[in-house]
């Protein structure tokens, strides 16, 4: 106690220096504490945001060339030029599996399957079917303009044409249509189209015509995307119906088509994925889980037979969570997403028969348990969106090969090929990707504003680091300078004490206790003030921050924004940690300098050894 009192007495007789030391240490500790507080706060923010954000990338193959296609227009009596993207070959998904690509999910190339479920009704199908009808022209005519065509029988289709109707028919896009005879019956696949200007004279302001819609030639492709040869031309849309025609191969093909049209009303689009948030509709919040849950990692990995259905579909069909859907996958479509194929007012642009003219056989069937339902928009003309009644399943749950059931193929596009990487690693990924030099695949990233947020937080972190470095440097400078002043410059005092019989420990305590008390008080006051200040400022910044994710991912039903949800650090605890670190540093510096003092021989110091 005597040593402590003596130490304090001597220290406070250097009042000015002691007070200056205390003030500087409070200021430096405050800076340290604020810097540390900000750094931790921003780190905590980033960690909190990590769960709210997800970075996905999409891959899109660019066309190798664009070809001009001349298409005849019967109304203009002229060719129109259309540009068509041409792909020499489709780049495989494996191109995305390169060294250093650290995926959290994917990459995956999604297709959609058609699942035939006769006991369920495909309401709001969206997609338009062609009308398959039998009929004859009212008089012999070449349909290079709208001709009157008498319908004698409706085999299948949308239901827009009835038996006995006389429609306007025009082989609109054929520059050299064949002549049709009034005494013959034809079976045709037709679709509705706005009529020619010249028809207005007879039909009023909204004339209509029916034009050929080719569905007979199969669109089937093999696993490599090559078209499976079919003896029926792609643009075949009409046959003459003669006695026994429907027993012929071509006739049976017509009937098969009619059958698939009927089946389509019970065929549901099913999409397999490895993470529902790789699908843009879920990623951007247009679709969200409204009941039940998402798939678990284990379900994805094992390929469990679980599914997500739209809540509207479930309501209509009286389905509940836990119910099972008997999926029977009939075909796979790699050419377009279900959202595109089943969009409102979109004609079915693929045939549902294979190159042999037969209905695709079911290649995978099983009961899928409904674990969740989703809400949101569907059926828009958006290839990134979901189709009406789309069913989502884990990709791995489809065990059998779909190689013989592919009705369309296409390149990787932003809406069917995606992957997930860690937030904030876009640049790193792109650097590695660019080394591969694959010019015809374009990668696009979506991070829901994470990069911007990260940049802002990194700026804050930079300021925090700057404050911390300034604080730590100042603490060390203050400690070093005043330790030099209070300790190293007091060598003589130590020597005299030693000469008076003080042991080394006594001399240590005599010098250390005073400065230790100042360090303790200074660091505690500064740290506490800094800690409260950083909490206050952080709180204000937090209240002002509301990160808009309207065009990003919201990862749930809370569409529109992510609020700060991190827990701020306990100010007292934060201050204690900071002060403790400064006290430890001060103790080490002081102890080292006292050790230097004690190493000096007292007589050498006090008398000077001139020998």
């Amino acid at each position: 106690m005597l040593l402590f009192k003596n130490s304090m007495r001597q220290l406070f007789r250097m009042k000015g220096r002691a007070v200056l030391f205390l003030l500087l240490l409070i200021f430096a500790s405050g800076l340290c504490s604020i810097g540390r507080g900000f750094l931790l706060m921003n780190r905590a923010k980033m960690e909190a945001y990590e769960d709210s954000f997800m970075t996905i990338g999409t891959a899109e193959q660019k066309a190798d060339q664009v070809k001009e296609r001349m298409i005849w227009d019967a109304e203009d009596k002229n060719y129109h030029i259309f540009n068509t993207a041409v792909y020499d070959s489709y780049v495989p998904l494996s191109v995305l599996d390169f060294e250093g690509a650290d995926y959290l999910a994917g990459p995956e190339r999604r297709c959609f399957y058609g699942s035939y479920m006769p006991e369920y009704e495909m309401y709001d199908m969206g997609m338009c079917l062609s009308e398959i009808v039998e009929g004859s022209p009212v008089e012999d005519a070449v349909p290079d303009h709208p001709i009157a065509f008498q319908i004698s029988r409706v085999l299948g289709g949308q239901g827009g044409i009835r038996e006995g109707h006389v429609i306007s028919f025009c082989d609109h896009y054929n520059p050299e249509p064949e002549k049709l005879y009034a005494d013959k019956t034809y079976v045709m696949s037709l679709t509705y189209s706005p009529g020619h200007e010249e028809q207005k004279e007879f039909e009023g302001d909204t004339p209509s015509e029916y034009i050929p819609f080719t569905v007979l030639g199969s669109t089937q492709v093999d696993a490599e995307g090559n078209k499976v040869p079919d003896e029926v031309d792609d643009d075949h849309f009409c046959d003459e119906v003669t006695e026994g025609f429907y027993e012929s191969p071509m006739g049976r093909r017509w009937l098969n088509i009619v059958g698939t049209w009927d089946n389509l009303r019970h065929t549901f689009p099913v999409t397999g994925t490895n993470d529902i948030y790789l699908m843009m509709a879920f990623y951007n919040g247009n679709a969200f889980i409204s009941q039940g849950r998402e798939f678990t990692e284990e379900e994805y990995a094992r390929g469990d037979r679980v599914c997500l259905v739209s809540e509207t579909f479930a309501q209509r069909e009286g389905l509940a969570l836990g119910d099972e859907l008997p999926l029977a996958l009939q075909y796979a479509n790699y050419g377009r997403t279900a959202g595109r194929a089943f969009a409102v007012n979109t004609a079915a642009a693929f045939t549902l028969i294979n190159a042999r003219g037969e209905v695709y056989p079911i290649f995978e069937e099983g009961d899928y348990k409904i674990v969740g339902m989703y809400g949101g928009q569907a059926g828009l003309r958006d290839e990134y969106g979901l189709a009406y009644n789309e069913i989502i399943i884990p990709s791995r749950s489809v065990k059998n090969s779909d190689a013989d059931n592919i009705l369309e193929s296409g390149p990787m596009t932003g809406c069917n090929t995606s992957f997930c990487i860690a937030n904030g690693t876009i640049d790193e990924y792109m650097e590695k990707w660019s080394r591969l030099r694959i010019p015809n695949v374009e990668i696009t990233f979506y991070d829901g504003g994470y990069s911007e947020l990260e940049a802002n937080i990194n700026n804050m972190k930079y300021i925090a680091r700057l404050l911390l470095v300034m604080g730590v440097s100042m603490v060390f400078m203050v400690l070093a300078y005043f330790s030099w002043l209070f300790i190293l410059k007091q060598k003589e005092r130590t020597a005299v004490e030693r000469c008076l019989g003080f042991r080394k420990m006594h001399s240590f305590v005599s010098l250390f206790s005073g400065i230790f008390l100042l360090i303790l008080v200074g660091s505690a006051c500064g740290s506490l003030a800094g800690s409260y200040l950083s909490g206050e400022i952080g709180g204000k910044i937090g209240k002002e921050n509301y990160y808009d994710t309207t065009f990003g991912n919201s990862m749930g039903t809370d569409v529109g924004g992510v609020e700060e949800t991190f827990e701020p650090e306990e100010p007292l605890k934060a201050a204690a940690e900071c002060a403790l670190a400064i006290v430890a540093a001060g103790t080490v510096i002081a102890a080292a300098e006292i050790y230097v003092n004690l190493k000096k021989e007292p007589m050498k110091l006090l008398a000077g050894r001139t020998e």
Binding site: L2, R13, A495, C499, L500, G501, E601, M603, L606, R609
Partner: protein, 223 residues
């Protein structure tokens, strides 16, 4: 009565360039109540020998006895606290303590009650001829002579029997020099202290009872 004795004491140390033999085979004895001077040129080993007598260094060879007991066997910190005190040419008072507090420090360190320490310090300061007004002064407010007196008072307060003084008058004018020498002489002859001073000053040496001369680390008794 013999209080301190050195027998064949030697001490060497390694300087930057060579080994220096500062003290060579020194043997001498010091009696209680006597005033001694050790004279010699700079670098002759006087201060080194004094630090050996104070127990601040250990001899490389030979033995120093304190009342027959080898100093090397004793607790040398306790020896300095209770029996031997050192006075320096540059006074070396604690600059942030008053004269009284300087003298009180060793007393309080010896666990003397504060009131008693105050009383004792005042008595000692009076004993070395300082007026009571000096008690509350800090060293920088005092003259060199006054500072040296405080240093002697602190040495007396600290040590019990032996005062080792290294050029105690080196920084003093002749008036103060005489006073300090007279004080040390009084402490030896009247209070029974063994006072050993190192000095270049012949006048100081002349006031002592015995004189030793050191040259090249060796010692001889002159008187």
């Amino acid at each position: 009565m013999e209080i301190l004795r050195a027998e064949h004491v030697s001490y060497s140390y390694q300087s930057k360039y060579q080994k220096v033999e500062a003290v060579r085979d020194v043997s001498c004895a010091f009696e209680k109540g006597k005033f001694y001077a050790i004279v010699g040129e700079s670098g002759s080993g006087k201060s080194t020998f004094l630090s050996l007598l104070a127990g601040l260094d250990q001899p490389c060879g030979g033995t120093i006895y304190v009342e027959g007991e080898p100093l090397s066997d004793m607790d040398r910190d306790a020896y300095r606290l209770n029996r031997a005190a050192v006075v320096y040419q540059a006074f070396h008072l604690f600059p942030l303590l008053t004269a009284q507090e300087n003298v009180m420090l060793p007393l309080e360190f010896k666990k003397m009650h504060k009131k008693e320490a105050v009383r004792q310090a005042k008595r000692l300061l009076q004993r070395v001829g300082l007026e009571s007004r000096v008690c509350r002064q800090f060293p920088k407010m005092m003259s060199g002579g006054e500072q040296q007196r405080v240093a002697i008072a602190r040495a007396v307060a600290a040590g019990g029997e032996i005062i080792l003084a290294d050029e105690p008058t080196g920084n003093l004018d002749s008036g103060n020099e005489e006073n300090v020498v007279a004080l040390l002489k009084e402490l030896a002859h009247e209070d029974g202290y063994t006072v050993i001073v190192i000095t270049h000053n012949k006048r100081v040496a002349d006031e002592t009872d015995h004189v030793f001369r050191m040259k090249d680390g060796r010692m001889e008794q002159v008187r």
